[in-house]
Symmetry: C2
Subunit: 294 residues, 2 copies
């Protein structure tokens, strides 16, 4: 289970989660990535993961909030009523594609689908959970208990988190085995890393000793900008080895991909002409090999 965390807003957490989820579920023979059954869990009350795949949140059934409530006495629960399976996610994706390209007679390409990617979407009420959980014993463990059943059904679970180090994010860190930190190559980026690493140490020593840092991913790197270079060099000095080899360039097509109902790794083929998709597939290879080394 992988948690993608950074309390700096807008650094690319959701974009990283959706692209890694898509690439690691699809797999790629050339890159030695075997296909996996992947579940994305969205713990951000704003629910941007669902939007990335064209899901209309008003049409959702029982949601994440219900899942947290259900884990009252610590009993295992069945998460299936809360999960959007691959066939349904594919329907939403193809609908979004048709909305974006209304005058194309041929319909979305056959490849515009997911075979083994499911989504446990967020919902608005999640933001009330933090206050509600605050006073309960074992409050950090709710998500871990809720997802126990899911570990048997999926090969990989990836968790998106809100821009904060509150109880929702701590729940994700308590449930996860690995942590990935996206850092935007911008001015404020390194400043709050101290707080994040503090939280990581506290979670490791108090509630989840097996949590390990998978790595740090540099995102929105603008080539040729002194700022990008300065933040990149400084991050290298602080984190060295822990920085994943692939850095993600700033590219409008990465930001635009969700318009047609999916992350760029799915909507565009990873070739030289599409640096955004290529970068996320390279990142997926890095992550895949770090998983296999462990």
């Amino acid at each position: 289970m992988l948690a993608v965390v950074n309390h700096k807003g807008g650094c690319g957490k959701t974009t990283t989660v959706t692209n890694l989820g898509a690439a690691l579920s699809l797999g790629s023979e050339d890159r030695g990535i075997k296909p996996r059954k992947v579940l994305i869990v969205d713990l951000d009350p704003r629910g941007n993961v669902a939007t990335t795949f064209g899901v209309d949140k008003n049409a959702l059934g029982p949601t994440m909030n219900g899942l947290f409530q259900a884990v009252i006495d610590g009993s295992r629960i069945d998460i299936n009523p809360f999960v959007i399976p691959p066939e349904q996610l594919t329907r939403w994706m193809r609908k979004a594609w048709k909305r974006q390209f209304p005058d194309r007679s041929r319909g979305p390409p056959v490849s515009h689908k997911v075979d083994s990617l499911s989504l446990l979407p967020a919902d608005l009420d999640l933001s009330g959970i933090e206050i509600e959980l605050a006073m309960r014993i074992g409050r950090e463990h709710r998500l871990r208990i809720a997802l126990e059943g899911a570990m048997e059904q999926f090969d990989l679970i990836i968790i998106d988190t809100p821009a904060s180090l509150g109880l929702l994010t701590v729940n994700a860190l308590t449930a996860a085995d690995w942590l990935l930190i996206p850092i935007q190559a911008e001015f404020y980026a390194l400043e709050s890393m101290g707080q994040l690493l503090d939280t990581l140490r506290k979670v490791q020593s108090r509630v989840n000793p097996s949590l390990k840092l998978l790595g740090i991913s540099m995102t929105m790197v603008q080539t040729g900008s002194n700022l990008g270079k300065m933040v990149g060099d400084s991050a290298l000095r602080h984190f060295g080895e822990r920085i994943l080899r692939t850095s993600i360039p700033r590219s409008v097509s990465i930001a635009e991909a969700p318009l047609s109902g999916g992350p760029i790794a799915l909507t565009t083929s990873p070739i030289e002409r599409h640096p955004g998709s290529l970068a996320y597939w390279d990142l997926a290879s890095d992550v895949n090999s770090r998983f296999e080394l462990a």
Copy 2:
């Protein structure tokens, strides 16, 4: 008192607060903006406002957290021990400038200073406040009580908030008279506006009837991108009149300005050749005239 709020991370809240704070405190005869005594209050535990002005957070005295604690029995408190005055803020700015340009013999330009801008900086412990306040009666009013004394010393107070709609942000909305919402011209931007407007309505009907929406500011607008145009058009349909005339372009120099110890409105003159600074001074004129109309 003006609160700058949007729970979408990375949409330009801190950049808007620091640039408006600088421009409205400096004033401009050509633009009909009279100088004001401005206090910026940073409610985001990551404390990016301090960094923008080159302040070393480890060197700070008693902080915001202490202020919240002090307001236990509702008595008025003196905020001065918690505030960095203009002379001190200027010293930090000039130090950051010297760090950025070590080989310039002449030192920072005379204009690299603030005369009437003060800062009440955030601190790490603020994130614990939300849990602590959760169970107290009148928990939304802490900041308003804490800042009562400040209203007499300053002409304008601008509050930066974290990327969430939790109790810290609700405290800002309860204390403020005006709300400014920056929206990044990107895919996820409009999605969570419903939640934000819901929170605004709840705060207006339950704890602060005098809170008014000053306007919506489009930030990081990339000219020539379909995404930018699509989000811009959609925002215009939803919000019409409430969108401020000036939109802020995406520009690396806006992101880089804090390297030399200040927001772009202070570090660069607002002329055609510097579109980032020009845009923030235009925004300050818009905001100034909306204040005066009320």
